[in-house]
Every structure is written in C-alpha cells, then in structure tokens.
Symmetry: C2
Subunit: 659 residues, 2 copies
Amino acid sequence: MNDNMLVASIRGLGIDMINQAKSGHPGIVLGAAPILYTLYKNHLNINASDSTWINRDRFVMSAGHGSALLYSVLFVCGYGITIDDLKNFRHIGYKTPGHPEYGITPGVDCSTGPLGQGIANAVGMALGQKILKERYRIDQSKSLVDYDVYALVGDGDLMEGISYEACSLAGTLKLNNLIVLYDSNGISLDGPTSKTFNENVRARFEAMGWDTYLVKDGNKIGDIDKAISKAKKSNKPSLIEVKTVIGYGSMLAGTSTVHGKPLDDADIEQLKKQLGLPNEPFYVNVEEFSHLRNHIANRVNPKYMEWNDNYQAYVRLCGGDSTLAGYLFNNDFNYDLINLDWKFPTSLKQALRDTNNVFINYLNRNIKTIAGGSADLASTTKTYVKELADIDANNFNGNNIWFGVREHAMGAILNGMALVGVKAYGSTFLSFVDYLKPAMRMSALMKLPVIYIFTHDSISIGPDGPTHQPIEQLALMRSIPGMKVYRPADAKELLGCWQAILNTNHNPSALVLSRNEVDLLKESKALETLNGGYILHHETTALKAILVATGTETHTALHIAYEYERAGEGGIRVVSMPCLEKFLETDQNYQESVLPPGYRKIIIEAGSSFGWHRIMKDYDGIISLDTFGVSGTKDEVLQAMNFSYQQIFTRVQELLVKK
Amino acid sequence: MNDNMLVASIRGLGIDMINQAKSGHPGIVLGAAPILYTLYKNHLNINASDSTWINRDRFVMSAGHGSALLYSVLFVCGYGITIDDLKNFRHIGYKTPGHPEYGITPGVDCSTGPLGQGIANAVGMALGQKILKERYRIDQSKSLVDYDVYALVGDGDLMEGISYEACSLAGTLKLNNLIVLYDSNGISLDGPTSKTFNENVRARFEAMGWDTYLVKDGNKIGDIDKAISKAKKSNKPSLIEVKTVIGYGSMLAGTSTVHGKPLDDADIEQLKKQLGLPNEPFYVNVEEFSHLRNHIANRVNPKYMEWNDNYQAYVRLCGGDSTLAGYLFNNDFNYDLINLDWKFPTSLKQALRDTNNVFINYLNRNIKTIAGGSADLASTTKTYVKELADIDANNFNGNNIWFGVREHAMGAILNGMALVGVKAYGSTFLSFVDYLKPAMRMSALMKLPVIYIFTHDSISIGPDGPTHQPIEQLALMRSIPGMKVYRPADAKELLGCWQAILNTNHNPSALVLSRNEVDLLKESKALETLNGGYILHHETTALKAILVATGTETHTALHIAYEYERAGEGGIRVVSMPCLEKFLETDQNYQESVLPPGYRKIIIEAGSSFGWHRIMKDYDGIISLDTFGVSGTKDEVLQAMNFSYQQIFTRVQELLVKK
C-alpha cells in the first residue's frame, strides 16, 4: 500500500471537489489529509458497508468546513459515496453538502459547522458510550457498547468557549475513550492566530486533566500513528496537537487566503505535479484505494465479527428477546406513561418542578437508555434522582450527570449522547436558555430527541431580578424550526407532556416549569395535552369569548372564568395550550373546535407576546410581558409589571368589552 | 482602624440583608468579605462622593449573586446607599436589587448575574481603557484615561465558556490593567466542584498568558493585599486565587447549602458572637466606618486631584474646548452622517457588506471613541479598516480588534467597552448571533449603545448549508426588549441606518447585511429610514395592496410592483421596513399613512415569519422561511425553499387574489 499516493489522492479529490463547486475550504484539505488518512487506515473501528454499526468508533469533523476532506476520505475508504457525489460537492441532492450533515452522508456521525459544537458533541458521545457500556454489559469484561470517539478540531474550535466547557468536563470525568486531533496550523480565517490565540494549548489541556501529545510534522504519518496508539492507552482524554501547514503544497500554503477560497488552475496544476498525481480532475487510483479498503476490512473484521457474537450473547442474556437491545439501535421510542396509575391526590398543591422530580425518578428507574443532569442547578430545578447513583470519573453506572455551570456544553453534550442512543435530558433556569441556543438549534437541525428542562419560568421568581427573569425565552425556543415547547399547567398536563416528549423521536423538546406551587386542576386532562391545546373549561352558556393560557397562567384564566360565572356570565371558555407547536399540527377541524373563528380570544402568558399573533385574529387580545422585569418580591414584581391576578382580571375585562 | 471589626461588620450587614429579605446568597458574603474589604481599602482608586468619576478603577462583581456583599462594602465605604436600602435588599424601589444592576446603585459599574458575563465585561473594560488611554493622551506619560479593572469571580464564572474566551483574549492582548480575584471555595450550588471542575485553574490561566497568585487563607488580609500589590506590577493580566471557605463562620460553612439559602436565627446568633458583633440587626460601627472612609479618601484624593489637573491640561490641549472630551463622559452622542456628501453613483451595484466598509472606515476616521472588530470574520463581514492600525498586545493605538473565534466573548467585551465609553462594534455572520445572545440581552438590559453587525443574512449564502443559513435569527433579535434590528435595502438606507444607530445612545443596535450585490434604488431615502419603515414606491393608481419587505427582499418587492405596473396594475405600493422596532415607535398617524388599514399587506422576508404577525391583519399575507435551509448553490437553495424571484412572484399573485 502506497501511503503517499493515497494521501495525495485524498488531497487531490478534495481540491477537485472545491474547484468544481467553486466554493469550499482547501486549506484544511491539504493540511490535515495525513491525519484523517492515518486515523481511518490504522485506528478507526468502522465498517464502510455497515456505516451505522452501533459499535463503530465515532468520528466528528468538528472543523466542519473540512467537509471536502472528510468526503474524500470516506470515498477512498469505500463508504457509500459515489464519484458523482464528489463532483457535485455543495449541490442539492447529493451526499456532499457544504458542511457535514448527519443523516445525509454515510460515515458522517454528526452535523458540524458552527465551531466548537462538534468537539462538545464528541464529549457527549464519549460520555454516552461510557454510560451505555455499563448498561449493556454482557459480563465483567464485555459490553455491547465499547468504542472510542475521535474528533478533528482546528484553532477556531478551541477558541470557542463551548469547547473549553466540554473539554473541562471531559477532563474531570476522565473520558479516556475520547481522542481529539488538533489540526494546529497557526492560521484562522482572518490571519495568524498569534493575533488572537497566543496561548499554550497543550499546557491548558494538561491543566484540564488531559494527556497531550505533539506531532511536530503533520506529514509524518508514522508519528501521527504513534501518537494515536499512545493516546488509546491513556486513562485520560487525549489531545494530539499535529502541527500542519494550512494549504500544504499550494502556492498560498501557510496563509489565511487558502483557508476558504478555491485554488486557481495554475496552483492546482503545480500542486498535482508535486503530489505525483496526473493533472486530471477526480483521478481515482482504483488499485491503491482497493488496497486501503482491504487493509481496513482486514483490521476491523475480527472485531466486527466478535461484536456480532457479543450481540448474540446479549440476546441470550435477555432470554432471546432481541427487542431488549431496543432504543440503542434507533430513535423510535414508544412509551405509554399516561396509562400507568399515577394517583395524584385531588388536593395536590405542588410546584411543578417537584412533581416533575417524581416523573424524572420514574423514568430513570424504568427506561434503560435515559440519563441526564443539570448545569449546576439540579437542587433547584429538581431533576436530581436521589435513589440512583451519580456519574463520575470512577463510576459510569449511574444516572445523574453533573454538567457544572456549563449550559452551552450541556446542550451540545446532550446532542452527542442522543447521537449514540441515550435518551438525554438536561436542566437549568429558563432565562439561561440563551446560553445554549446554538446547541439547541443543532438538536433541531439534526432532529435529535433531546429533552431540555427549564424551571423558574417567569418574572414570578421575584428577587433574583431581570437577569434571571425570562421574558423572550419562550419565543426564542418556539422560533426554532422543529422545536416543541411544553409549558404544562398542572401535574396531569405534565404527565401528558412527558408522554408526548418521550414519544417525540425526531425532534428536541423543551419542558418549561414553574418554581411556584400550583393546584391540581379538576378539569385538566393528560391525554388531551397531546393535542397541544384543548378546552380545559367549557363555557356554561353560549360562547362569548375564550381565554387561552399556558402554565401557571392557565390557573389565572380559570379563576377569571369562574369569577365571571359567579357573576352570572357563563360564556367564557378556557383553553389550555401547553404546546402551541403540537396544537398547530392538529387538523383544522380540531383547531376550530377548540378555537372557533369569530369568537374573541384573549391570550395570557407571562412572557413575550412575540410569536403569539400567529394564532390571533384582529379582534383578539393578549396579556403578556414585553419589557424586562425588575428585582423585588414576587408580589412587588407582578404588581410592577401589571401582571398581578387583579391586574390581569381588569385587563381581561377591558379587552372583552373592546370594540 | 480595626480591620477585623470592619470585615465583621461587612459580613454582619450582608447576612442581615439576606435574613431580612429572606432571600439571597450568604455563602459568598461570609467567604469573600475580606477580599472586597482589602481591595476597597487599599487598592481601588475610587471616590465614593463622585461614584461616576470616569477615571475611577472599575470593579465588576462577576459573581453577581454576591450582591449583598457588594452593597454592604459600598455602604461601609460611604457610597450613596442608605441603611434603609440595605434593610430593603431585593425590594422594588431601593438601590439594592437582587443582583447588581448598572444605573441603580452608586458604585455598581456593571449589571451581573448570569455567570461568566461579568468577567468578560471586565475584559472589555480593560481593553476599552487601553484604547481610550491612547486617544486621550496629554503627553507621553499622561492620559485622561488611566485606571485598572478588577473583578471578583467564583468557580461558576470560570466554568462558563465565555469567561475562557474572554480571558484567553486578555492573555493574548496582555491586558495588565486587569486583575481578577478568584473566590476559590470548592463549592458550587449543587455541591463540591470536585464533581464538575477538577482542573488546575491557575495552571490553565498561566497557559493562557496570565500571571497567577495564590492566597492560601482568604481571611489573611495582609496576604490578599500583597498579592494585589504584586499583580498591579505585572505586565500581564493577573488571576489571584484566594482560597476561602463558603459561608465562613456559619454552622453550614463549607457546604453547598449555605450558597443560596438565608441562615437561621440560631446560626446568625452564633455567627455574630464569633465575629465580635452585637446581636442586633444592621449594626453600624460609625467610628470604624468613618476611619475606613477617611483612609480611602486620604489614599485616593491626591490621584483624584491630579486627574482634575490632567483634565484641565487636556482641555487646554483642545484649545479650551471642554466638549472635546465629549462622549467619554456620557452616552449622549449626536452625529449627522446623512448630510455629508456621500455621492453614491446611481449605477452603484455592490454588496452592502462592502458599502458598509466605506462607512466603517469613515466612522473610524472621524469618531474619537469608536473601535471594533470581528470574531475572525472581518475579511468577509468587511468590517476591517485597512487604513488604521490593528490593536494588539504591543499597540493599543489602533482601531481593529481581533476577537478571535469568540462570538460570545465579543458581545460581552463590547458591553464592557461601552461601559467605559467606547462606541463599540463587532461583527460576525447572522447565523452565529445565537452564540452571543446572552451578551446581547445584557446590552439591552444595561441599555448600552453597542453596535452588532451581521452579514450573510439569509439562505441566499447558499453552499455553506443550514448551519450557516439564518432562519430564526432576525426573530431572535427582534424579540429582545429594547433591541433595534436594522436590515437596509441599499446604500442610502444603510446610511440612514447608521444615522439612527449612531444616535441611539441607550439601546443596542443590530445591523444586518447581505453578502450579495444590490443595486442602489432610485426611490430609497436615507432620511425616511429613520422612521423604521416608509413608502419606498407609491402606487400609481388607486391603492390595492402593499408589499412590505426588508433588506434584499425590498428589491424583489419592487420588481414585482414594477411588473404589475407594466401589466397595467398600478395599485401596488412598496413599503421598505429596515427597522420594524423604530417604525412601531412612530405615531399612529404616520403608521397608518404608510400602512393604511383596510388594504392588504404582503410581507416578504428571507427569515422566519415569527414576530411579523404583530403588524398583520386577518387579510394580510406573509412570504417567509420557517424551516431550516439546505446546502446548494444560491439558486438551488432559493428554488428548494420556494423563494426564487419567480416563486415569490407567484406566491404574491396567489395571496393578492385570496379571499
């Protein structure tokens, strides 16, 4: 096998793709090709013909702009990508999108592009592997789940705060199944990193509990190989810094110009000559590629076969029931929670964060793939499972993950965990959803069933003040395509929300809970919650108007309707809308049965009105919060924001008589 | 002066505040009191009677939950806070909100609470000071701006990615005017940091180019004092790790329970006994407080007087014109950009990011306090000023800041710069606004006139794919209370936007620009842009319908109206809406003159419809993008998303005839 020719081919194909597309990032293709080549040739336990093998080693191209390099490597290694896909790089309808996209390309384990996300996803995958390994054990020495996670990062990834957060946690948890290859070329898009990133990266990672290695010449495959071999034996996560030259071989090598601009024809000509490639686009060396593919197959096949034996052994352990490996193999999850006997006392008066703890407990005790935690707020978001163990560096046979004060990494780690089959949840305060928005967008983009739990859901938290009082956060989440936001009113609706969330297999969900106590509503219905919105309280005389509310405001709406009834006006209907997105997915007949056109709606929610006007007609009204909060006691704050019960009642009265 | 009694008093007052409020964080009050005491007594150059003195040293309480400690210290030091303010901690109407809020409390230089923001703001203040120092020089050795920036951080701050980003940049820029005091107590809200944060923090900071110091016993004022004195002499930023005991003196000392829960009466009684304080709430030792105040005044007064001399010297340098210190002293900025002679050729066809570079150049050459940069995308957002110098560790006499791939820190650093009087701007791609949302919210909350610039503003960027194609990002920004989002259609509107932005003194602004070329519109008007929305093209016959658009879609709307006119239908009006928030601030008469009720509007924007329904009536329509994009060429993507010119035209036709 001719390593030089194979690396040259990978470089050549990547450059041809970018040249043909007139768009892409040649710098990393030329600089980092030997790294990926070495990794795929000698280390990754993969099977190109079974690219979703659940026990494969994972690879995350965190420097997602290196997509051409990745596709080129995958093609050379025999994945289900055609030369036509390469020729149509960055075109719709091919397996070669501009940045790697999960679900489109065989061999792409994760969507990447926004820097820092990928490495944090890799940490999540490594953590997920550690957790699942304990849960799918065959015996003391064997598990159905046993693989390593690799990522390629650039300077940009390591400058992003999310990568620091995730890597700091990886060091604390001693995730020795994680190996990060750092394409260290001293250049970012705008210029030399000496301008922006003048730190000792390896020393920093060592301070964070990692092992580090240096490969001084990124063209020396043997040195890269040795470093990876050492890293695999480490009892810590490993960072291998590989010094490379961005755009190696190009006339623009070593400059920021070559980062993101196709090479010109003269440059390509001289480059191919240097690389020993014929000057023809998309040159394929069938014989050498075949050598490489056989080499990888020969190396991995024994492990692949062994895993199949393990799988049979595991099924035997499960008494022959192969469905017990279950959710590990796909995201299609089916769970009937509602029909269990929950027996909420009618007198129940409890903060939903506390009620939620009951569900979190139950789910962790009954669902094999679930795990989660909090960004250092478990004691107050109440997502901690006291009866089950903590996950830490010495024990992954647990359920409680301590993410630290790292909301952003938490989101991305949940994504990584979901990618390897964990039903993952994470919690913090609603106002801090801002911190993890980029990760949440990636959950939605990758269609991952990640569960976000947010408590302290409105200004009624009081004294912590405007930085901690969410206003626009519900709107922020609802505006993300594919995101489902749940804000239940009581324990029964919370049950319904969990039913919906558990069976949402291809979308993220956000569960939004109050800190304050709420009653169990007589008329609430868990099952109807699945429609997103339903008639909570029917008008007792001819319909006059509809109050629509979510969460704690549902109680306010109900009390107002009752007051009207006591005063002899029974025409007020109350609609509970725990999930607007799900309601908007129901058919028009249902929607019109709940919210009949021609009747005035008044929407009440302790958050921004932003987004609600979608379901409002000209004659409708909304009582919302569109300015920042203030610091004071709960009652002071509600009063100051014109949102006390009495003030809302007055506003409803005014809106109902409005012309 | 009795240090012990003063520190005890600070602790006692803080505990009394929390006890009276039944809410707050006693752990940090008891643990970190000696740190703040030492800093205020011996180091901060401040004047309690002139708390906004522009040359004061800045202090940022990054661990914002330590507000009671800060207020207690400020009270003892003689700032304009009364004992009544302390007694009403966390109540509306007093100077003692739950977390420190800029503008409410004398001596509070920055709003804090969401962890990590404060330390990044402090980096921004330190950078701002370095820049302004060069611009307000009196001679080689003297400047009108010459102070240090201090911050108190806890473990939570240092776990947050934004703190890493900002501190890494501070190390690269060798901001030796920045001293960070690290309240290192090994406990966060949920428990011991060994669970989550098992790294060598000082080694990490050293790897990032900082000097570090260790104070082993946080009660030893002399040791803290020595460490600060050393740090002031460093040529790097400094981190002083002070080992403290959370809740020192409480029966719960050293546990996470004492982090955020008031102490009980028995605990307070034994604590006060231990501290040598009488067991009475809000005990004030008038004599000792007075000693401390005199001590600080005697220490600082010579510097305060010297600065007044410097100010006189500076005014003399300016030929006696004191207004030339100008913007440095307040945020009230007044600039008439429109009436300059811009001479855009009518044939101008240019990407707005390029046109914007002309303005950025002009402003940097003409506004004394302006500075900004990009999160490693200046070469493509085109915010780089080639003619002016870069800011780096060896030169702060420049204009271009290289933030690195650190969007979040960029936002918070801009906030810090704005807090010290820099007209600060920063740029990245629109899709990455997600990364800096938390900082942007703080800009709005603190009412800082920070300028965010976003290019690559829609799916029409094409091949980079859905991770880089903004969809919900305009909605995200518009949903932030107080935020103004500008999306101009051409060079004239961009000029108008800049006029509005420069004179927006108490709110952040976001300027959103396309990557693609646009024509100069014949009918666009810079001045009318100031209304946020205006009639770009009048109907030529009786009004039938109105097309409302922003940015590049304004051109689409206009062409559609022209097509209708050519086909004999002159009733289509085109309204350009570069800033919806500003339009909604105009009076109803103006709004109705632009968008007369009863006439159908069709809104066209290459982004989520989320939020637009606010201005829509039942008969209106919207052509928007509510799903994620795809990777392909620009034309492929527009076609796939039903957003090509022809497709939009067809959709307009359908909407216009809809019943």
